[in-house]
């Protein structure tokens, strides 16, 4: 553990909120908010991940962490509030209105702007999903404040009591730390699976602060004509799979990708690939893993014929165990793998599948 980590865990007193050059008092902004992304009755798990992260920031600052739930007057909306408490929120700010049934930029931006201006949080976190990015960009503009996208690390800078948001830059080759010093709230988005899922405490509850939405359907220009749900085949749950096997250009040709799928099937996991493989159409585009694809956090990640470029690395570093199979002993993937095999993936993959199949059969016989 580095000195910085220890520092983050203690709740040392931090400097009071800064005053802006023009004299505006920023200390009226208080507390950490996490936007709870409720779409079509379901909460995106990234919201819980952010509550875990928000809790750490709030503890360090000595302030509460709150969930913010916008949705229709429906049981799912209240269930989202309960979920927020169970994943760590001290309180929930709730806005219910039929116009919030499906996501649209205008009513959501208007609702959140109203909530922020009324209750004044100092930090606001959102998931970097299609919804979260659409909303965050609009919200930061109406609030005229700073927004840092796709953060990989959030901490508090004690000296300025500001959020130090770290994100990859220049195509992932470098990281940069960004502060919003003179504006509040400080906004940040984080991609799904970048932060760990916090422990759920079933039955934990807290205070719900309900605030009325002032938006009526007649005020909203954009209408939803219909919603076409993805077919199950397209709904790759890759980001949330516990076991992931991936293949890269080193597999040589599309037919060889079956070796990856076979191993994933035996392990009971999902499969994905590096960018060249999805770009070449060997597998579907939404199975790309990495900076411009999905971030994964499995218990086990097996990469075959993948060099381990930085853009791939940032998407898989959260895995508990990484096994790399590559015939080049100097491949960068061995720099961050847990286990390494220098060899031909076309031979090692089927051998692994076979060995596992036998072990699983033996386990089954013993059970």
């Amino acid at each position: 553990m580095s000195a910085e980590d220890i520092d983050q865990e203690q709740s040392t007193p931090v400097a009071s909120a800064p005053r802006r050059a023009d004299g505006a008092d920023l200390s009226v902004y208080h507390g950490v908010w996490v936007f709870i992304e409720l779409e079509r009755g379901k909460v995106h798990p990234v919201s819980w991940e952010l509550l875990g992260e928000g809790r750490k920031l709030a503890t360090h600052l000595g302030v509460p962490v709150s969930g913010v739930v916008l949705g229709p007057d429906a049981p799912e909306t209240l269930a989202a509030c309960d979920g927020a408490f169970e994943y760590g929120a001290d309180s929930v700010y709730l806005m219910r209105n039929a116009v919030l049934a499906d996501y649209r930029t205008d009513p959501y931006t208007a609702g959140l702007t109203d909530l922020v201006q009324t209750f004044k949080p100092e930090i606001m976190l959102l998931g970097a999903t299609t919804l979260g990015r659409d909303l965050a960009g609009a919200l930061a503009t109406t609030l005229a404040t700073g927004l840092t996208a796709d953060c990989t690390e959030l901490r508090i800078d004690d000296e300025t009591r500001s959020l130090a948001a770290t994100r990859p830059t220049f195509g992932g080759s470098l990281l940069c730390t960004i502060h919003t010093l003179e504006y509040r709230p400080q906004m940040a988005t984080v991609r799904p699976r970048v932060m760990a899922m916090p422990e759920r405490v079933p039955g934990k509850r807290g205070q719900v602060i309900e605030h009325a939405s002032k938006v009526a359907e007649a005020d909203i220009v954009t209408k939803i004509l219909s919603f076409i749900p993805d077919s199950d085949a397209e709904k790759a749950q890759l980001a949330y799979a516990d076991i992931v096997v991936a293949g890269g250009r080193g597999l040589g040709k599309p037919e060889n990708f079956k070796l990856v799928q076979d191993l994933a099937a035996v392990l009971g996991g999902d499969y994905g690939g590096s960018r060249p493989v999805t770009h070449a159409g060997w597998i579907a585009a939404d199975r790309q893993i990495g900076q411009t694809g999905k971030t994964i956090r499995p218990k086990l990640y097996i990469a075959a014929g993948i060099s381990g470029a930085i853009q791939h690395r940032v998407g898989v570093e959260g895995a508990d165990v990484i096994i790399a199979i590559n015939n080049d002993p100097n491949a960068p993937i061995f720099d961050f793998a847990t286990f390494g095999v220098v060899g031909d993936a076309l031979q090692i993959l089927p051998a692994l599948t076979e060995a596992l199949r036998e072990r699983l059969a033996a386990r089954k016989a013993a059970e």
């Binding site: 930029t105 999903t129 299609t130 919804l131 990015r133 659409d134 965050a136 960009g137 609009a138 930061a140 503009t141 404040t145 700073g146 927004l147 996208a149 796709d150 220049f170 195509g171 080759s173 470098l174 940069c176 730390t177 960004i178 502060h179 919003t180 010093l181 504006y183 220009v221 954009t222 209408k223 004509l225 219909s226 919603f227 076409i228 749900p229 035996v266 392990l267 009971g268 086990l300 930085i310 508990d320 165990v321 096994i323 061995f334 720099d335 961050f336 793998a337 847990t338 286990f339 390494g340 095999v341 060899g343 051998a351 692994l352 076979e354 060995a355 596992l356 072990r359 699983l360 386990r363």
Partner: protein, 278 residues
């Protein structure tokens, strides 16, 4: 139909290298390209123009050298190009960038009414996807992000229907013009410019605007001054302390290697062994 397309010239990040000793970016000799995501938006705009008539104006905020990227857009078939360039824009974050671009679009709209604005889904250097929504808010336009398909445009009624990618499905949205659209990658393919356009691009004189020309009366909302975010530190990702445990392969069959790997894995992570194959 008049469409404004916002493009950005970016370093080809595939070719950026970090200096191994000093940890700084080695920019020398890194070629620049048009942000790849912007090309899907430019192509969609060109298609709409071809269908409805009118013109496509391409704009960018950047250094003089961005003229090259704008001329490239002319060679693809864009009609006009404006470079927004001024010292006051230096150091802009996304809020300041959207302010400058929105002001420019409003200025263009004064002489040639703007029906639609296109932005890329995101850039590959800034990579924030914030500038598009920022422009839309400032101009009071509806924003349609992650559009996979423009289904219908009715210019007379001022209506548009698009398919927007969302988590778990596609929203079919109807809204009014003017609006701002960002296209999803892969939604179309950039055309090859015609010979005529290629020649036109070579001769084309890109119009250059400073903040005054763009109608900006509050330069303190631009550049570093107008940027709420401050970059405190840039650094290379720290190397991992523990090196990979390598499985010996010398003189072993693939099956022996596989078994050695699994033995090593399950010895260290016994819980995994009970969890696999479920």
């Amino acid at each position: 139909m008049h469409i404004v397309v916002c493009i950005k010239q970016v370093p080809d990040s595939a070719q950026i290298r970090v200096h191994p000793v000093t940890n700084t970016i080695m920019r020398q000799g890194v070629p620049t390209i048009i942000n790849p995501y912007d090309l899907f938006s430019l192509e969609e705009a060109l298609r709409l123009r071809d269908k409805f008539g009118g013109k496509v104006t391409v704009i960018t905020m950047g250094p003089k050298m961005a003229i090259e990227a704008l001329k490239k857009c002319i060679s693809y078939g864009a009609d006009d190009a404006i470079l927004l360039t001024d010292k006051v824009f230096a150091g802009s974050d996304t809020l300041a960038t959207s302010f400058a671009l929105a002001s420019t679009i409003a200025k263009i709209d004064e002489t040639e009414k703007v029906d639609m604005v296109f932005c890329g889904k995101q850039t590959i250097d800034g990579d924030t996807a914030q500038v598009g929504p920022g422009i839309a808010r400032r101009l009071g336009m509806q924003q349609l992000t992650y559009v996979a398909e423009v289904e219908k445009v009715d210019l007379d009624k001022g209506e548009i229907v698009v398919h927007r990618r969302s988590e778990g499905g596609v929203q079919v949205l109807a809204t009014t013009l003017p609006c701002l659209v960002t296209m999803l990658e892969g939604s179309n393919e950039m055309r090859y410019g015609t010979m005529d356009d290629l020649f036109r691009a070579a001769r084309y004189e890109v119009v250059e605007w400073d903040h005054k020309a763009a109608g900006i009366t509050a330069p303190n909302q631009c550049g570093l001054k107008g940027s709420p975010t401050v970059v405190k530190k840039v650094f290379a990702p720290p190397p991992k302390a523990v090196k990979a445990q390598m499985i010996a392969t010398e003189g072993k069959s693939p099956r022996e290697v596989a078994d050695a790997l699994l033995d090593g894995l399950f010895a260290k992570h016994p819980k995994l062994e009970t969890e696999i194959g479920r």
